[in-house]
Amino acid sequence: MPDATAYFVADDADTVGLASALDALAQRFSVEQSVARSLLRTWLDTDDWLLHKAGMVLEQRESTTDGLRLILRRAEGREHTQPVEVITWPARIDALPPGPVRAQIEGVVGIRALLPVASLRALRRDVRVMNEDRKTVVRMAIESSPKSGATQLPDHLTVSAVRGYQAQADRVTARLATVTGIFAVATSPYEQALQANGRVFGDDVPTPVEMSASMPARNAVTAVIHSFLSTVERTLGGVISDIDTEFLHDFRVAIRRSRSTLKLSGDVLASGPAEQLSPDLKWLGDLTSPTRDLDVYILGLPDMADGLQSAAPADLDPFRDYLLSRRRTEFRLLVRALRSARFRRALDHWRALGLETEPSNPGKLTSAGELAADRLSRAHRRVTKRGSAIGADSAPEELHDLRKRCKELRYLLEIFRPLHDPATHRAVLRDLKALQEVLGEFQDSEVQGLAVREFALTMLSTGSAPARTVLAMGELAAQLSAHQRHARTAFAGSFAVFNSADSKRRFREVTRGSSG
């Protein structure tokens, strides 16, 4: 049962606003206020707003009286407080000391770092409203921000019911609503501070591309590629400061998708700029691979260590150290490249794409709908054809190649999603995802198995691997080949589902939808 909280702000012009509010309350209720304290409030969330999505608000509050504390407010109104030493933000979860707040958010934020999203300096007075037994039934906070502070909010007042006293809080709120010079608002100081900081919940997701079946294909493709560009621009800072691994992940996905879009539908664009951008995207893809691959090993290590049968998880520590040091090296190279003139030029090409006046390639596919229907059915055909050709003794490369074709189909589906019926689209995606998972498992375990072997050899030759580590790595390699065998066995089944008459019918429905 969430206890409703009410918010009021003082009219800018009215300097007595909040003071008169207190006077008005004191006529009806017994009110007691604390001395004013000065606070620095900093709100934190992950780049993708995981806390917000879980209904949580995390604040770091610094005050002269209480020191530094983390305060977590959950959706139903419960608060957890944890005193902390200075934390350097952004911070990943292991940088927070164990305690009640960390315990609450650990599972929610996972591998994502916490970043300050808004902050506010405030002079705060706490006010208690009491009933006839002098029991506190309502708590209020009155905050004003110093006129010199970075974030300027009007003076504001927050009313919260003590649990079980909502009726009294409602009476206080009703009384405050009649006071001139203040007015009720729907947003909390946090939301106001966010707004003042130019942030909104969900601003990590690019605004969806507007697309209709009848719009010119060229415009649709341009909009799609520019939306990927906006993700690249948005995540770049986080990649370079290595806030957490997901910035690079998102950065790479946007590059891969652009590349694939250009490859599969770039022919509707003017050829010059598209041809310029293609090699840039390949370069960027290759550039980011080593660091991302190492991230994947490092993130996967705890799970793999859990699966060890004979070795102890700690045997892998030197391996972990080795991966971390390789990552540091690769990451330095990556950052250097992202600061290079070449990268800036690539971004320029990207930004210019589709905006040129040069006429696009002549072709029959002029509308987005026609383009979608054509490319989707071709990509689908490629998948079914190659998949059907795979038998029990096909070479692994054939499955790897099929995985690439599946990815292309997946990207096309995602690009043209706005043209599709949502339910059918979801069903088609589900069939494809199941197949992709098996193919991904098959290839990833092969690649990782080879990499573990190669790492072991390098570590041996540099004397950085004790025997127990090499043995444990041998177990990892064995684990990975078991995964790969398992995926190989599962392939036939999941391809059969994808290739079934039902699934094909759904796919035809989706493409028919595209062509409008």
Binding site: R78, T81, D133, K135, T136, V162, R163, G164, Y165
Partner: protein, 244 residues
């Protein structure tokens, strides 16, 4: 979630004073704490200035037609909530008796609170009843204030035997001397002799103190209005000893 309950068949031995002060200290240490005032007289509710009234009464809670969560009130202290007493709790025995497995009902009722609370303290009415028996099933630890007298120890020993015979994981027993008057020769002797003799008693004793008497006047735990009193220090020591 750890469940503590004050327990003694004798009345006026300091159960409520203990429950109130320990609940206050638990919350002060950052543990999310709920105090359930099970006594229809509502002494603990009174001290926290909360009206002894639960919508739907004991009947609603026991039959689960009204939810425990809705009856909970926030106290004036962070992390400390109270489930108030209700006059209808005087019939709690009969209500429990009408349930299947009556003595386990209380424990069942507490289960959903584990999400929200780290510590629950039950303040029991005196006497032997289905309620007090239910508390033995619900609590991890029974807090037993003992008036310094040989007779109190006999009752405690009976309780120890009774608890051992429970057909369930028995609660641990934390017995301590309460209302110890150092001016009384008998009190001094009993406390010294028994603490030396027995290893099943806590080391901390709660003295007879005006600060504790004043709780009903001040309507607050002693730590609030007499933080530097001997009584406050003794409850601190008792709470610390319970954490070991």
């Amino acid at each position: 979630m750890r469940v503590l309950a004050t327990y003694n068949i004798k009345g006026g031995v300091g159960k409520t004073s203990t429950a109130v002060n320990l609940a206050y200290l638990s919350a002060r240490d950052g543990s999310r704490t709920l105090l359930w005032d099970l006594d229809p007289q509502g002494a603990a509710s009174f001290i926290f200035r909360i009206k002894p009234r639960v919508k739907g009464g004991g009947k609603g809670l026991v039959r689960r037609t009204s939810s425990l969560e809705d009856a909970i009130k926030g106290t004036d202290f962070d992390d400390l909530d109270l489930l108030p007493a209700d006059f209808s709790y005087r019939n709690l025995d009969l209500l429990l008796d009408a349930q299947r497995k009556p003595v386990r009902r209380l424990r069942q009722l507490l289960r959903p609170l584990a999400e929200d609370y780290d510590t629950v303290i039950l303040d029991c009415p005196p006497g032997i009843s289905l309620v007090s028996e239910s508390v033995m099933y619900a609590a991890d630890t029974l807090l037993i204030p003992l008036i310094p007298a040989r007779l109190s120890l006999r009752t405690f020993d009976q309780l120890t035997d009774f608890v051992k015979a429970l057909d369930d994981r028995p609660p641990s027993l934390a017995a301590f001397f309460s209302m110890v008057d150092r001016r009384k020769r008998l009190h001094r002797d009993v406390v010294t002799a028994l603490t030396a003799e027995r290893d099943d008693l806590l080391r901390t004793a709660i003295p007879n103190a005006t600060a504790i008497e004043q709780m009903a006047e001040q309507r607050a735990p002693v730590g609030v209005f007499a933080p530097r009193s001997v009584a406050a220090a003794c409850y601190e020591a008792l709470w610390a000893e319970l954490q070991t």
